[in-house]
Structures are given as C-alpha cells and as structure tokens.
C-alpha cells in the first residue's frame, strides 16, 4: 500500500448519500485522472495488448465532459450514469468500450430513478456494474482482466457496508481492494482479451483494464473525500 492508498475515514464519511452532483464530480474527476494516466495506461497495454487502452478511455471520458455540462438541473445519479454509458459505448471502441459501457448501463439500471444512493444502494450499483462486465466479457477472477479489480472491489464494498460503514468508507474499501486486485494481476497469465495471446509472457505485467478500474474507483472515493 502506498500513502495514496490509505483510507481517510474522517473525510470519507462527510456525506452520507451520493447524489447527482457527486456523480457528475466523480465522472469529471475520472476524466481528469484518465487524461493524466493516458500514457501510463497505453504503456501497460503496449506491454501485453495493443497500446491503446489509455487512448480509448481518455477519448471516451473526454466525450462525456461536454454532455455533463448540458445536463438538466435536478438530474439523478442514474441519469448521469446512463449518459456515461451511452457515451462510452459510442466513443471508446475496443474491448473496454462495450465493457465499461455495459457496466455504467447496468449501474444506472440498478439505481433507477433514485435521487441519491446510500451505502446499500452503492453496493448494489457496484455489483450490477461488475455483473454487466461479466455478462459481456465472460471473464472470471484470475483471467487477468478488469474483473480482477472489480470483484475484490465489490466484495470489499459489500463487507464494509455489511459492517455498517457509510458510503465514503465503502468507496474507499472498494478502491483499496481494486488497487490490490490490479496489483494481483501482475503475476497472472491472461485468459481473456489480447493479453491471452501472450501466454507466459504476460507474467509480470499489470492488466491495463484493472488499472483503469482502480483509477475510476479511486476517483469515486477521492471526490467524496474532497467534496
């Protein structure tokens, strides 16, 4: 764990529910973080894929930004998530586009028309997102994909919520678990995606999709913490 990975519980519990404004801030922060990590994600993907994952994610989230500006007042988290989903589907391409697109689409469906999301709903949202990715990509844990970040994140979020934590702590637990999960992809041989063609040669490299998942979940926790 690096310093950055330390939960900051004091701030984390500042807001008990996640509303549309938070959702928008989360997506904006994600866009920022992905832009900043564009080259790094490309490099990870160049090592065991085709070198475009940072490009793809950055293109998608940059395309979301102007649409966020155009959102009506009084929107819901679900509406924001759905907007992100359709934009990612139509701009990212590659494997990540449909996978993240489905994740956001299923997340939107999970929260429905609710005005805000509490810790329990947050777990439902994250679970739906992860299940959406599995539905499309059919990856299992250990296949060296973004699922290796998502599933530990969902499990950690679920445990934290079951233990009575508020949304901030739940998000931090998810991000921390995603960080461990992303790191844990490094020694693996891939069984899905382009890295699967590498066989043993994938060993020692982090899966780029698990890294972008970590960045998204860390951004979610961070925007709450700094709200």
């Amino acid at each position: 764990m690096t310093l950055n990975d330390q939960p900051n519980s004091a701030l984390a519990d500042a807001a008990p529910r996640l509303d549309a404004a938070w959702t928008v801030r989360w997506i904006r922060r994600s866009a920022e973080v992905l832009a900043a990590n564009r080259a790094a994600l490309n490099t990870l993907d160049r090592e065991i894929g085709d070198g475009d994952h940072g490009e793809n994610m950055d293109r998608g989230f940059q395309a979301v930004l102007p649409k966020l500006d155009a959102l009506a007042e009084g929107t819901t988290p679900g509406a924001v998530l759905k907007l992100v989903a359709t934009t990612l589907i139509s701009t990212v391409g590659g494997a990540a586009g449909p996978l993240y697109g489905t994740a956001f689409l299923k997340a939107a469906g999970a929260v429905g028309a609710a005005e805000s999301v509490d810790a329990a709903a947050l777990v439902v949202l994250l679970t739906a997102a992860r299940d959406g990715i599995v539905l499309r990509g059919k990856a299992e844990e250990g296949d060296k994909t973004m699922i290796d970040a998502w599933t530990p994140a969902v499990n950690a979020a679920s445990s934290a919520q079951a233990a009575g934590s508020a949304v901030g702590t739940v998000l931090l637990a998810a991000a921390d678990a995603a960080a461990d999960g992303a790191q844990a992809t490094e020694p693996l041989v891939a069984r899905k995606g382009r890295a699967s063609y590498l066989g043993e040669r994938a060993i020692g490299h982090r899966d780029p999709g698990s890294q972008s998942t970590l960045l998204l979940l860390r951004a979610a926790a961070d925007v709450l913490a700094t709200a």
């Binding site: 490309n42 160049r46 894929g49 085709d50 070198g51 475009d52 490009e55 793809n56 293109r59 589907i89 139509s90 701009t91 990212v92 391409g93 590659g94 494997a95 990540a96 586009g97 449909p98 996978l99 697109g101 499309r136 990509g137 041989v189 891939a190 069984r191 899905k192 995606g193 382009r194 699967s196 063609y197 590498l198 040669r201």
Partner: protein, 335 residues
C-alpha cells in the same frame, strides 16, 4: 525519436485517409463521415444480403478497400487498431440493408466481437435480421480454451471475397452465413514480423525486436506470437509458418488450395514472392496443388515488415465464388 510518417495530426489519420479514399474511389464507394463508414455507391442493393465488416484501422486495404460489387457492402473503420463503436456499425448495417438481412464479418478480437454484438442487437431491435460470422484463422495462438480464441487475420480477405460473391449471386442469408463459416473453417494463417509498427497516437513501436530477432506467429496488431527467434533465411521462416498451418486443418495430399502470401505493410513485394516460391514448393512436395494465388499487401499492420501465409482448402463451389467478378479498390477482376 521523431515518429516518421506521412500524417498531419495523429488524431486525424483515419478521417483524412477515409477522405482520401473517398476522393480516389468515388466511382466504387460513398462515404459517411459521421458516423463513419464506407459503403458501395449503389447500396442498399434491394433483395441482396448486405455484408458489413470493419475493425480497427491500420490494416488497409482491409476493410474499406474491399467494398464494392461482389465483396463488401460496407466497411466500418475504427481508430487505428481499435474496434469501431456500435453506432457506425449500426449505421452501416442500416445503409446496406436491402431487405434480405445483413451479415457481419467480424475478426475475433474481444473489442470487435463486443461492438459488433451491440450493433447487431440495436439493428435487430429495428427489424433488420443480422447474423455474425467470427473469423479466427490464426493458428499461432495454440490453445483456444485458455485464450480469447484464435485471432482473425488475413484469411478474412478470403472470407470477404467468397462470401461477397455468394451474396452477389443472390444467395439468402442462411446460405451466405454458411459459406462464410465454410471459408473460415477451411482457411489457416500464420504470420511473422521482422520489425514492429508505430501506432500514430502512441508514437512508439508497440513492441521491440532486436536487430536480429523476428517474431513468429505475430498478430496483426503486433500481438506477440509463438516465439521470438533469430533471423533465418526466408525458406526456413516459411517452413516454420507453413508447418502449423498444414497440420492444423490438416491439409493433405490431393487437396487443392488457394495460397495467399500477405504483406504486413513494410515488406517489399520482391520478398513476398520469395516467400510464395518456397510455400508453393513445400505444398507441391506434400502433394497439395495450388490452384489459386494471391500475393500482396491485403491485411497489413501499418508499416510492419513481415508476412503471413494463408492456405484455403478449395472445392468447386469456393473456387467458382473466388473467380466471380469483383470490383473494389483493392481487389478487382471480371469487370
């Protein structure tokens, strides 16, 4: 190191190339820029099964160069080495739907499969019958159980030509799908890279080979293959590629085949013919007869130096469809 390419802004590579393609081939195609796809100038052809392919750019002439009479009805170019999104695939599907259904020819990459799947769902919701055939001719990836499956590589050109001919002569969707699947089931490919390529927005080679190293079994996006070895004479390299290809189907004495030596973009034609010579020699030794040939840059990886060899087992039906007229920017005969 400065990236050395005849481009303007890396962001505009695909847009500008498609605009150039449109300017050069306006007699054969028309282009929709947003959403971006390239269609036959006479699409939709009423009553004909529409055939749409597509995928990341950088493999030219695949797929845009194969749009036209007797081959594809539309091609959907994504960003370089990145699958297109569902929107343009859907738009292309709608544009070529002549009422007899549409076939998607999709190379087996997770991104391509998922984006075409989504587009097919959306098209289906609009009442267009869409079927997909996934091309996976690359024998370099050994064990398909523990991978995303075999990759679709140069054999795709053969599927597109033969299936396009079947659609052009008026076969129905079931038959067209069956022919596409038949070609895919009878073609095997393996490639070798001598040098990597540089994706414009990346600006650096996607992999690094030492001055005397080559990558056997390379994928068309520079994905690694079976093994990295020292440079060998062309004949030895051809033998390494042909071995797994012939074993896999297997191809046997008495077979009649189409032999396709494909350039990856940066290899001069003189070398492709040296490769063809040896491949034809090996096939002859095994009693396999080359009755049709194709040599050239048809499924490329930007400026990568290297080649792939594809062998397709022919029969009268496939040979007849291969010989049928085709009029596209990159493949043309009979009209």
């Amino acid at each position: 190191m400065v990236m050395k390419k005849l481009i303007n802004d890396p962001k505009n590579v695909v847009n500008e190339a498609v605009a150039g393609f449109e300017a050069a081939h306006g007699d054969i195609v028309r282009v929709s820029h947003d959403p971006m796809f390239i269609a036959r100038s006479d699409a939709p052809v009423q009553g004909k099964v529409g055939i749409v392919s597509g995928g990341g750019s950088g493999h030219e002439p695949l797929h845009g160069g194969f749009v036209g009479y007797g081959m594809l009805d539309a091609a959907v170019p994504g960003a370089v080495f990145t699958s297109p999104t569902p929107d343009p695939i859907l738009a292309a599907t709608q544009a070529v739907d002549g009422g007899a259904g549409v076939l998607h020819i999709v190379k087996n990459y997770t991104g391509d499969v998922l984006n075409f799947e989504t587009a097919a769902d959306l098209a289906g919701a609009e009442g267009i019958e869409v079927r997909a055939v996934i091309i996976n001719d690359d024998v370099a990836v050994k064990d398909s159980l523990y991978t995303a499956g075999r990759r679709g590589v140069a054999g795709t050109v053969l599927v597109e030509k033969i299936t396009g001919a079947a659609a052009e002569r008026g076969e129905d969707l079931d038959t067209v799908v069956a022919i596409a699947e038949k070609v895919n089931s009878r073609v095997r490919t393996m490639g070798v890279a001598l040098t990597p390529c540089v994706v414009p927005h990346a600006g650096e080679p996607s992999f690094v080979l030492a001055d005397d190293e080559i990558e056997i079994g390379i994928g068309i996006h520079g994905e690694p293959g079976r093994e990295r070895i020292k440079l060998e004479p062309a004949d030895a390299i051809v033998d390494r590629l042909l071995g797994p290809i012939l074993e896999d189907l297997p191809f046997v004495s008495g077979d009649e085949v189409l032999l396709f030596v494909n350039g990856l973009g940066g290899t001069p034609q003189i070398e492709l013919y040296i490769v063809f010579r040896r491949a034809a020699e090996v096939l002859a030794e095994k009693g396999i007869t080359v009755t049709r040939s194709l040599v050239g840059n048809y499924t490329t990886s930007l400026e990568m130096a290297g080649t792939s060899i594809s062998v397709l087992k022919l029969d009268d039906e496939l040979t007849g469809l291969w010989d049928a007229p085709v009029q596209t920017a990159a493949l043309r005969w009979g009209r």
